[in-house]
């Protein structure tokens, strides 16, 4: 369990002391509202900070310093959750006990300080060359989604289902928004992030708690900030009609993506019931989709469902022969229908609960997973434990699953497939 230490208003430190790992993990999360142009700025900013700082002005100098610290890892990334945009800094170093006489952890915190508080910048501008280079890098990253047909199809399905809403806004923003970034706007975004974002800091490893608190107060002197009201997910209007959209590229397989909406979200009291429903529907290798679409009909190598609980969306993805679209959609919808009618067995329920339990307990074996899971669930309950979640899954009944299946409504059928003249 994490021990919470409030450093300032809006700045919290969570420490988990454990001898389980050979490394110490440090994660810092900056949280702000999710918005297209801000997302782009924060993504470029994350890259700029990772690249260079006053202490290590070039990428080479920075990377050499990390190598010297026994391959210490330090990088930034961005993500989103509900209507929140998150910039994360991840760092990990090997426990000092393995290297006699070294103080890697101390040096790591000095490095983190340089990255966060001493960027290579004049009064109100970063190094222009670095900014332009990282704008290009982020644009390339956004554009490259096109090359991954599964990700691209998923992106398109969400855009059609929830246009201009958090569910479909990329954590990287858009190419246009990246291009519009100026050195000044980027620096402003930096100031905003350092001064106004909610900040959660996590440390997991074989550490001395008091020592960590001291090190962090020294190296990361964040000031108090106004704590925003919790960001509520805005529920999207669901449409009664099913939208069917077909798009084509030069490719062989048909990427079928179905979007269903549900009023049940992460904060909804039925959240845990819906997790079970999704597991039975298509979350695991014993699920209805796997057993019927793949094993029985041999139509697909993968046919899964997932519950995007932050957005009230259940989606199904399957790689199929595009000519079998109609049959595949019918078969998928039919799996949901039988669940809505209550055709669910105790076996399916038990398998699903056992595997959900396995996955949450397994997450205990990775420091990063511990951090990510706690960071999400603490919004519901600061004293969150895996046991609590597991007991909730155990209390889910067949009737609950049926009820959950009945909240689900198909909204979008999206198929990305090859061009017609490709079949020659």
């Amino acid at each position: 369990m994490f021990n919470k230490i409030k450093l300032q208003d809006g700045v919290n430190l969570y420490i988990r002391k454990t001898e389980q790992f050979k490394t110490v993990n440090v994660t810092i999360k900056w949280k702000a509202p999710l918005e297209q142009s801000a997302a782009s700025e924060r993504t470029v900013l994350a890259n700029v900070l990772e690249e260079s700082n006053e202490k290590y002005p070039t990428q080479i100098a920075m990377r050499k310093a990390l190598d010297e610290l026994y391959g210490t890892v330090l990088y930034t990334d961005v993500s989103k959750r509900s209507s929140q945009h998150i910039v994360s800094l991840f760092a990990e170093c090997v426990n000092d006990e393995f290297f006699a006489g070294e103080d890697v952890l101390k040096q790591l915190f000095e490095l983190i300080r340089a990255v966060v508080f001493e960027p290579k910048a004049s009064e109100d501008a970063f190094d222009q060359t670095v900014v332009e280079r990282e704008k290009r890098t982020v644009r390339d990253r956004i554009r490259s989604v096109y090359d991954d047909k599964t990700r691209y199809a998923q992106k398109r399905m969400l855009e059609i289902m929830r246009p201009d809403q958090p569910a479909s806004i990329s954590a990287y923003g858009t190419e246009e928004a990246v291009s519009a970034i100026t050195n000044k706007s980027l620096h402003q975004a930096y100031e905003d992030m350092i001064q106004h974002d909610l900040i959660d800091i996590y440390v997991v490893g074989d550490v001395d708690e008091q020592d960590i608190v001291t090190k962090i107060k020294e190296s990361l002197p964040f000031k108090a900030r106004k704590v925003n009201e919790r960001l509520e997910e805005k529920h999207a209007n669901t449409s009664e009609d099913v939208k069917t959209v077909r798009e084509r590229q030069d490719m062989k397989q048909g990427k079928l993506h179905l979007g269903f909406s549900t009023p049940v979200t992460f904060r909804h009291p039925d959240y845990n019931k819906m997790q079970v429903m999704n597991g039975i529907f298509g979350g695991f290798a014993h699920s209805k989709l796997f057993m019927n679409v793949r094993e029985k009909e041999s139509m697909a190598y993968y046919a899964n469902s997932a519950f995007a609980s932050q957005y009230g969306i259940v989606y199904v993805t399957a790689g199929i022969d595009a000519e079998l679209e109609e049959k595949a959609v019918q078969l998928i919808v039919e799996q949901l229908k039988v669940m809505q009618q209550g055709d669910i067995t105790e076996l399916e329920l038990n398998q699903t609960v056992a595997l959900l339990e396995n996955s949450i307990r397994s997450s205990n074996d990775s420091a990063r997973s511990q951090i990510e899971i706690y960071d999400q669930y603490k919004e519901l309950d600061e004293n969150f434990t895996a046991d609590e979640l597991i007991s909730k899954w155990h209390s889910v009944t067949l009737e609950d699953v049926k009820e959950m299946a009945n909240t689900i409504q198909l909204e979008v059928v999206y198929l990305l497939s090859g061009k017609e003249d490709d079949s020659k």
Partner: protein, 431 residues
């Protein structure tokens, strides 16, 4: 049961080779919740020509059969094995590589029950014409899925360029056409030949008591009977030196061109400590020439020749090996020139200084220590090392003593002009 302690790493393994020839390795992990178990045979996509168990003539089987067999192991007369694992709360899977097929599960509960399911399903084949034919549709979709992945095509296209004869050039899953020829009889032949316990390794890592688990595995194995182990005879074609094809281009629906440079490795007859030193050295060489602290990387990144997709790797197994360097790039010609120039320059003037070697040594040691947090890494890698007569836990001591000469020698394995090839994926110009 033998106990081996690795003091510096704070790890301990327990090993035993059972009467039927199965090697069992157990590594208890302090503080871990889950247990990860892999059951692996030294049999992969390259093993296509061999003497079947009990026969004297070599046969060649259809491409993609090892992977097909992996799929078909999960289906039994009484249904799908995933159902059993699911009920026991285990997440199960399998994968096939060029030289290995692994079956695995991870679970936080019922470890013995799940280990029993794993051992039993892999040791009780059940193939019929119907089940084999049914699988063809599923695997055809899997192959088609990979066909649409430009990075996979780039990787495999490069290997196809490098190798003229060796079956490493054949896609692990085969082709939609080649799998049509696979029959239940083929599967039994391959199974009988390659799934004898003496050709397999069971690795158990996580929240376990070693004595208890070893006794459990032994008891399970003693109830089954196997033929006497026989040496397996595989046949590989003679491979020419140097890359087979210098350059090829493929057009796909991508947003930016992709370039991959491949370098074919000589002296791939190594095993054991020699191989370990060679592959660690080769990795250090690639780190120095192309890693994030290299002049190459700085120049290429600043000039926009590479982006975040940039990567390089060295891969070596018995009989084949290669180095690769590649990236998405708007300027494939210039990038290729820079990669090639970097190789050429290094032949004329060795760029790695002692201080670089020391720094990279530190980095690699740290990386290795970090990866020991992952029980999946430990099980998968230990098995690969063991099949090549190396020991995973020799990595740190070996890194500690690697010399500059060893690095130079490793570089010479893949830096000859003749070993060089280029593969490019170009965007379709219809947008």
């Amino acid at each position: 049961m033998k106990e081996v302690v690795f003091d510096e790493l704070q790890e301990k393994i327990y090993t035993e080779t059972l009467e039927n020839g199965l090697k069992v390795v157990i590594l208890p992990k302090r503080g871990y919740s889950k247990t990860f178990v892999t059951f692996t045979t030294k049999y992969g996509s390259i093993d296509r020509t061999f003497k079947p168990h009990g026969k004297n003539e070599f046969i060649t089987v259809p491409d993609g059969i090892a992977h097909f067999l992996e799929h078909k192991m999960f289906e039994k007369e009484d249904g799908d094995v995933f159902q059993k694992f699911g009920l026991n709360g285990a997440s199960a899977n399998a994968y096939t590589t060029f030289g290995r097929t692994a079956y695995l599960f991870s679970a936080t509960n019922k470890i013995k029950e799940n280990t029993e399911v794993l051992l039993d399903f892999v040791q009780e084949p059940y193939f019929t014409k119907e089940t084999v034919d049914k699988e063809k549709g599923i695997i055809a979709q899997e192959i088609t899925m990979y066909d649409d992945q430009p990075d996979w095509r780039l990787y495999f296209g490069t290997i196809e360029n490098l190798y003229k004869e060796h079956p490493v050039k054949i896609d692990i899953a085969g082709t939609v056409e080649s799998i049509q020829d696979i029959t239940a009889e083929h599967l039994y032949t391959c199974y009988e030949t390659f799934y004898h316990p003496s050709n397999m390794l069971l690795f158990i890592v996580g929240a376990v008591d070693p004595e208890e688990m070893m006794a459990f595995v032994k008891e399970n194995q003693s109830k089954k009977s196997f033929d006497q182990p026989e040496p397996i005879e595989r046949q590989f074609p003679t491979e020419t030196k140097g890359a087979d094809i210098p350059k090829r281009t493929l057009t796909m629906d991508v947003s930016k061109p992709k370039l991959n440079v491949g370098m074919k490795c000589t002296s791939t007859d190594q095993q054991g400590q020699e191989m370990l030193e060679s592959e660690l050295s080769a990795n250090l060489v690639l780190d120095s020439l192309f890693g994030r602290t290299s002049p190459f990387y700085e120049k290429a990144y600043e000039e926009g020749l590479i982006d975040e997709s940039f990567s390089y790797e060295f891969s070596m197994e018995e009989g084949y090996g290669f180095a690769m360097v590649g990236s998405d790039t708007e300027e494939p010609e210039r990038l290729e020139k820079l990669i090639r120039q970097t190789i050429q320059d290094s032949k004329e003037y060795w760029p790695v200084k002692e201080e670089d070697l020391e720094r990279m040594r530190k980095k690699k040691i740290g990386q290795f220590m970090r990866s020991l947090n992952s029980i999946e890494f430990i099980a998968n890698q230990y098995t690969r090392y063991e099949f090549n007569e190396m020991n995973l836990f020799d990595v740190v001591p070996t890194l500690e003593k690697l010399s500059m000469d060893k690095l130079k020698q490793a570089f010479s394995m893949f830096s000859d002009d003749s070993s060089y090839t280029v593969f490019e994926v170009k965007p379709a110009d219809n947008k």
